[in-house]
């Protein structure tokens, strides 16, 4: 079995347009949740959002050479993070195009961010056919494949909020099997009326910046972003800088409810346990947990109890959704990159907006920036609607 290592990362989110900016915001405890400047919705004044601090025109201007017809915000975010990741891993155009490089992306919104265009196209009242091919979740992956002339295995995953963590899982398995040497994996999602109205209809949007793991938490904030990771076999990455090793993964279904986790956390517990087992380490060896931590009543309660069940003595943990909001299809890979940053730089980032622990669990997230904190193994979680639970364990390279 090939060992899988992380050799490159790229990210754009509400707290930065690249990797160093994201890290600085985390170190400084600077949240990106605010009233949106560019996103248009009747809810723009009511809820804070984790909006990328750039309008479409500015994003597009950064994408020289990328065909701009039919390009959506989800596509643009994906291109920007993808480009940073492949550059960070020093991949040549030939490496990217190679048959032994897989590309596995994820999205839940895709081109549905263009709500009004989609409405007109679907109801045949369109005057501008530019976006007819832009809506599917796979639209951004096809564009990237085409732009970089990628010949290897490609895929797009949608398991709701665990989508891009599953992209990392799938890429790791392809490398472990020896089928590919390298996999560029991650996901993208932009703010969309579709998801804002969907989550609002479920009454789980918070009117204040989300208070993950707080007794008085009042729901999640939606965010947007894209994050891609370059995974390579240890052999292919022999001479490269390695951020981390993908030690193991777990994927389980809660099999309880379409939009809520079971009280016992069946899927949550199983995905964490399976990840530890697959990594061949014990719970006590985990130095840090990057939680799914959406700050909904249901998630934080179940995730807390799940961590207590699996770890007993729960290691330091945080929720970076208090910075970026919930980036849905991108949340898994955004979280994975923050996890790897903690591991690589040996530092823990503070969870924000926390006051009082949840009764009965009494878990308190990491509240201060902790430099020089040795992180040997770290676990990251992503749980989605439909009960799609995924956990990954990263270790020091």
């Amino acid at each position: 079995m090939q060992e899988v290592v992380v050799t490159g990362m790229g990210i754009i989110s509400a707290i930065g347009t690249n990797l160093p900016e994201n890290r600085q915001s985390l170190i400084q405890g600077k949240s990106g949740l605010r009233k949106p400047v560019f996103f248009q919705s009747v809810y723009a004044d009511q809820f804070p959002f984790g909006e990328v601090d750039s309008d479409d025109a500015h994003l597009k201007a950064q994408l020289e050479g990328v065909s701009s017809a039919g390009l959506t915000r989800s596509d643009m975010l994906a291109f920007i993070a993808f480009r940073e990741a492949v550059k960070d891993a020093s991949l040549t155009p030939e490496d990217i195009a190679s048959r032994s490089t897989a590309f596995i992306s994820a999205s839940t919104v895709g081109g549905m961010c263009l709500t009004d265009h989609l409405y007109n196209d679907a109801n045949r009242t369109t005057t501008n056919p530019e976006f007819l091919f832009s809506y599917p979740a796979a639209a951004h992956s096809l564009r990237i494949s085409r732009h970089y002339k990628m010949k290897g295995f490609s895929d797009t995953i949608n398991t709701a909020c665990s989508s891009s963590l599953n992209a990392i899982l799938f890429g790791s398995r392809l490398i472990r099997s020896g089928r590919v040497e390298r996999a560029i994996v991650g996901g993208t999602d932009s703010l969309a009326k579709y998801t804002v109205n969907g989550f609002n209809s479920l009454s789980i949007l918070s009117e204040v910046p989300c208070r993950a793991f707080d007794k008085n938490r009042s729901g999640l904030n939606l965010g947007e972003g894209a994050a891609y990771v370059v995974l390579e076999s240890a052999e292919a990455a022999r001479k490269k800088r390695k951020y981390a090793v993908v030690k193991g993964y777990g994927n389980a279904c809660d099999a309880y409810h379409a939009s809520a986790l079971s009280e016992e956390g069946i899927g949550v517990v199983r995905s964490m346990k399976d990840a530890l087992e697959n990594a061949e380490i014990t719970p006590s060896e985990i130095s840090y947990i990057h939680t799914h931590g959406t700050a909904t009543e249901n998630n934080d309660e179940v995730e807390s109890r799940g961590m207590i069940q699996v770890f007993g003595d729960v290691p330091p943990f945080n929720s970076t959704k208090t910075y970026t909001g919930h980036t849905l299809g991108a949340a898994g890979s955004v979280g994975a990159i923050y996890t790897v940053m903690s591991l690589f730089h040996n530092e823990l980032y503070p969870s924000l907006h926390f006051n009082d622990p949840i009764e009965g669990t009494n878990l308190i997230p990491c509240l201060q920036y902790q430099p020089a904190y040795p992180v040997r193994y770290a676990l990251t979680n992503a749980f989605g609607f439909g009960g799609n639970c995924t956990s990954l364990v990263f270790g020091n390279a």
Partner: protein, 341 residues
């Protein structure tokens, strides 16, 4: 990867078995609608009412297999769009009611992962659960996923499948994008029409697969491969590599199932591969039966299994060796599945 059981809902009477005994449905126009079974005994009436068609077909065919097989270690689905009809109903409400007074049902029902999730919920399956939405390669990705999962432990089994629906919305968008024929054709004339465009189909094909073939099985998936935006030499090279990897030469292939869709712009791919690598074989087409949709290759796999092991529908022949399934969507995403008895 061994296929031990399968079910299919399609524009033919595949679920009841009448198609296999020689009773094909002839379609005309640009929408080939599925011949859905009565889901009684498979899906509860209350659940059925809430389900979009893609969900209904995928869950119906899937639950049918789950009911009559040992519990698998997970569920993997491929679908380009999932329940798009519900998705766009929700979108229409957003626009028409200016983002107010929305109910969550359509939103929750519309997520593509809801099919695999519903199946796991109905069967209390907390195992591996994955949904691939890679448009014209969503099913091929699900197959690769399943192959990896079973290779990691040969004792495992999985329910895998694909589902797609014709919705008024995706049909509108794809028709405006030029995917479908302008003139009327029928099942009999579609593949010889010689004009641009194809017809839209739908359906769900599901399979119980396991990592070892010790007990009776219908067919063995030897390999799966895919290409995106290829040139013809890329396709031929990929087929050669796939065959070589499995110890085969083009002459060993005894059946060629190809996704001819009647679209004069893109059918040459199938013919050229036929001419250059398998001149000895007469291609087996299927989209005059099903129409075209992003996960149509799952129907092709169902058909391949029937030809290799099951009942041979009148007019078809049993291949006496490995079968290659080649399907592409709009000439952009190309998938290859190698199947043996």
């Amino acid at each position: 990867m061994y296929i031990v059981d399968l079910a299919c809902i399609s524009p033919q009477h595949t679920f009841s078995g009448n198609f296999l005994s020689g009773d094909p449905v002839s379609h005309s126009g640009t929408q080939y609608e599925a011949q859905e079974p009565d889901y009684k005994g498979i899906i509860s009436a209350s659940a059925l009412r809430r389900m979009a068609k893609a969900l209904r077909m995928g869950v119906g065919a899937g639950a049918f297999l789950l009911n009559r097989n040992p519990k698998p270690d997970g569920i993997v689905f491929g679908t380009a769009y999932g329940g798009l009809d519900h998705c766009l109903k929700f979108l229409n409400q957003i626009v028409e009611y200016n983002e107010t007074t929305l109910t969550p049902t359509n939103f929750v029902q519309s997520t593509p992962n809801n099919i695999a999730a519903q199946l796991s919920l109905m069967s209390s399956n907390s195992g591996y659960n994955m949904t691939h939405v890679h448009k014209g390669l969503a099913f091929e990705a699900a197959l690769m996923d399943a192959m990896l999962f079973l290779e990691e432990d040969r004792n495992r089994s999985l329910l895998i499948g694909a589902t797609e629906e014709i919705s008024a919305y995706n049909f509108s968008i794809d028709e405006q994008a030029g995917l479908y024929k302008k003139e009327n054709t029928t099942s009999a004339s579609l593949l010889i029409s010689g004009t641009p465009g194809t017809v839209c189909g739908e359906g769900a094909s599901v399979f119980m697969v396991q990592g070892s073939g010790s007990s009776g099985y219908m067919a063995k998936v030897m390999d799966v491969a895919q290409l995106t935006y290829p040139e013809m030499p890329d396709l031929e090279e990929t087929v050669h590599t796939m065959l070589r990897k499995n110890g085969l030469t083009p002459a060993d292939i005894k059946g060629y199932i190809a996704g001819f869709s009647g679209d004069a712009r893109t059918d040459f791919w199938y013919q050229q591969l036929n001419d250059s690598l398998f001149p000895q074989l007469k291609p087996v087409a299927f989209k005059h039966l099903t129409g075209d949709y992003p996960t149509a290759s799952a129907f092709a796999l169902w058909l391949g299994c029937q030809l290799l092991h099951g009942t041979i529908p009148p007019g078809y022949q049993k291949p006496d060796g490995p079968v290659l399934i080649y399907n592409h969507y709009s000439g952009i995403q190309h998938g290859l599945i190698l199947l043996d008895s």
